[in-house]
Chain length 548, copies 2
Amino acid sequence: MKKDKDSKSHPDLVADWERLFRVFIRPEGQASRATLIKYMDPILYGLNDFLKTHVGITEAISLKELSNDFMDTIICENPEKKLADVISCLIKEIAPYAVNVASPYFVGHMTSAIPFFMVHLKTIVAALNQNVVKLETSKVVSVVEKQVVAKIHRMIYNKKESFYQENVQNTDTTLGVFTEGGTTANLTAMWAARNAKFPPKDGFNGIESEGVVAAYQAYDVNRCVILVSRRGHYSLKKAGGILGIGHQNIIAMDTDTKNRVDLSCLKRTIARLKKETPKTCILAIVGVAGSTETGSVDPLEKLAKIAAANNAHFHVDAAWGGPTLFSKKYKHLLNGIQLADSVTIDGHKQFYMPMSCGMLYLKEPHTLDVIAYYAHYVNRKGSVDLGIKTLSGSREANSLILDSALKIMGRKGYALLIDHGIETAAAFAKEIKKRKLFELWTAPVLNILTYRVCPPAIRKQLESASKEKRREINEKLNTVNRRIQRIQREAGYSFVSRTTLLQDNKPDDAIVVLRSVIMNPMTTIDILKEILDEQEEIFNLQLRDLLM
Amino acid sequence: MKKDKDSKSHPDLVADWERLFRVFIRPEGQASRATLIKYMDPILYGLNDFLKTHVGITEAISLKELSNDFMDTIICENPEKKLADVISCLIKEIAPYAVNVASPYFVGHMTSAIPFFMVHLKTIVAALNQNVVKLETSKVVSVVEKQVVAKIHRMIYNKKESFYQENVQNTDTTLGVFTEGGTTANLTAMWAARNAKFPPKDGFNGIESEGVVAAYQAYDVNRCVILVSRRGHYSLKKAGGILGIGHQNIIAMDTDTKNRVDLSCLKRTIARLKKETPKTCILAIVGVAGSTETGSVDPLEKLAKIAAANNAHFHVDAAWGGPTLFSKKYKHLLNGIQLADSVTIDGHKQFYMPMSCGMLYLKEPHTLDVIAYYAHYVNRKGSVDLGIKTLSGSREANSLILDSALKIMGRKGYALLIDHGIETAAAFAKEIKKRKLFELWTAPVLNILTYRVCPPAIRKQLESASKEKRREINEKLNTVNRRIQRIQREAGYSFVSRTTLLQDNKPDDAIVVLRSVIMNPMTTIDILKEILDEQEEIFNLQLRDLLM
């Protein structure tokens, strides 16, 4: 191994102080600078053209083959490469084997093209390298963060001007926090809900201090549950597991025909819990505003009422759908969100910010007091340090990016993106229905839909088939749809994802569907037609026999 | 408010499709591009010069005054500014009121200058916008991540080549994960330790599924504790609170004269727990390798033995000190780290990466199996999706930055930084001892030290004072040191932080100390002398009377 290790080092590069200073401060000489500019310029000033020219969606190389080039695990003694060479390698050898999420043909996941200015903003955030955990490493940036949080809070809750004047820069209150993503935001919401249910009282220091066992004893409870539809994000189960209440206590409610939580199921469940297990505490009821798999939106107003009647925290997971509020035309789809005790919205989804940025908003400005932590050297009591009420400690200043983006786009700019997504998805659904080979599985409410390949003859068979026969046919269809998705992905021209949904909430009737997320403004109905054409071709040439 | 809202919009800017496309794809015209280049160029190619010219450490403006400019909470209808103007505003109006953490005079926190190439790398990561939660949105980047994780794992654990060949690209095993920061890494470690202690067995589905109450019943336990020195990071308490075991069960061990965990206290505590509360489960023993407040390192080898003897998970929080392993000269300070079941290291600390990046490393490649989560549309069982075993879901590809940095710096490059920090801190300690006004409080082991202003006459008084008198004097000194730190910070030329340490582990003897973290390679002993000069001057001119 020794030999291998040394041979990796660049023959002309040594790690010495002279080089170190240059590496810290500026490019190594004019030639290096010229090379750097050559690569950084297209990244900064023409990102989309650049990706279009250089990167397909993916290259048709297997993971196994790829992996073979990344087996060496020894850190080189001396530098291997100059910065310009490292960047050139990232562009020429890594980028082509990454995934071109910016392509308008990439409509499978919630990761997409971002406006080129986002890259500039991220660069500035990195260059300033502020740490928002505390004022001493961020100063004005903490102030900007409080302001932009209040702006989004206002979009959700629309409280009075006096409320915002009182809270926007109030160092004691918290209208929202930035997190790493939706998972941490959902976890933070459930954490706060848990702690609020088991606060300190005589002879008990609170659940955060004494733990779940002591808390249940102190309040004569033997189980906590969180109720959310089957479409709820898996991070809620994860939160249940992490928080010590057990992920089996995140109870999945059936959904109605539009993939919204079935309110009668929810009410029945609550009634049953109260009757059969009176010591069960309903910690939270969670509404989904833009479910990951189908984009469906729960009836938030009705959920809010049920939550209030049962003294449960009402959380809305709007990680996906939140920015729909930008659109005057479609914001009614989220009616009731203003009643939520807490709301998750992701920055890296429909705010089109770079990875990774999530947010949690709170109706009441003291909700997060129950998760506050202090330390001697930082986050001291009474300080304005933003890290006091966040799960994470050190944290980059993504708030600067969001604040700038709002200024560059305006509300209307974001609304254009939202409207485009919803309307293009509607047009896509229409096209799917027109084509005989496809079956629209879940119609879009926002900009996500699912469908599957299911030839008319098979559809007919399904209608009259026995339960067993139906299952048999669906399994064949599942295989076909799984393979279509994989073949298309591997061909590298376009990408839809797939997921598995239950027909009529029956665990035995699992249906594999193709899933399409329309968020790229460059994705047109013509592109979507091409994607369907390709799927038809794959089916006709390669998979038809599987259904015989 | 209506008027206000409209007046913010830029008169020439409307949010329409034409502009939206331009905003997504490239700068708006040649003039805009020229302006952008003007601002982005110094950020990319001469960051340090740029900051030096434009930004002091902080401006002497109060938070209150600053806040007044950031009270408006309405999102503008149309764009307020073009990108170039937004950037110009960030540079001219925000940066001067941010904190110049890159200054060599900023020696108070663990946030510092980063090499300029880190900004380039972060830019590329943002431009590619891969999401490492799943292979379908990252492909080769997931492979690179597994490789660089193995490289750091090797630096810590130095297992055999065959071990790495088997695991580096193994999709079933996990040598480490990237997190948002050290807090999430510590939380993940404690989460895995908790779940491993209460696995599924006959009639019990495991703690993750059933929760803490059922787990304690199933295993006849009534309390879990985590043992760590007083110097342990507050994120461990937070982890205890979140995980439902209660943060009061994170028990703080006294420290010895060198701020390391007092092993006799640890042993006594364990013996007492076993005798008095036999149903207490010792979940984990945590060693600190570079404590936040003093940079001290626990005796890791001995802790490993004690943990093994008590069947406890042994975690090392090396968020700060981990990269000391790069230095041949000083890596012995971390002896025993290779015995840890898990190790936290922060990327945004001594790897000099931009905010926010933490990591957790695991001795055994299946340790994180107990925290795995799956979903239908992603992270499917048997897939290689890296999001299966992380707390977060969507996640940016910080691994690309670390991988590139290792290539640019080489092991020796990082070692130069580590050696500089340790040796400059030692020289600083010597200088503090030389000056009569100062009292070195904790001598540096790595590159962190604490000291306080304490004039010789007062020191003399303290030596012979009664307990009450001593407390009285120390409180005066605490006030003086708090004020010196604040006055110096507000003057804006240099910055040290402060914390509170207990003398001889006695809660009544709380000592406020100045805290200095030497990680910037531009920080020389001469700069540190200037910082002491300034403190002497502040004391002599403004605070001397307080001690009369």
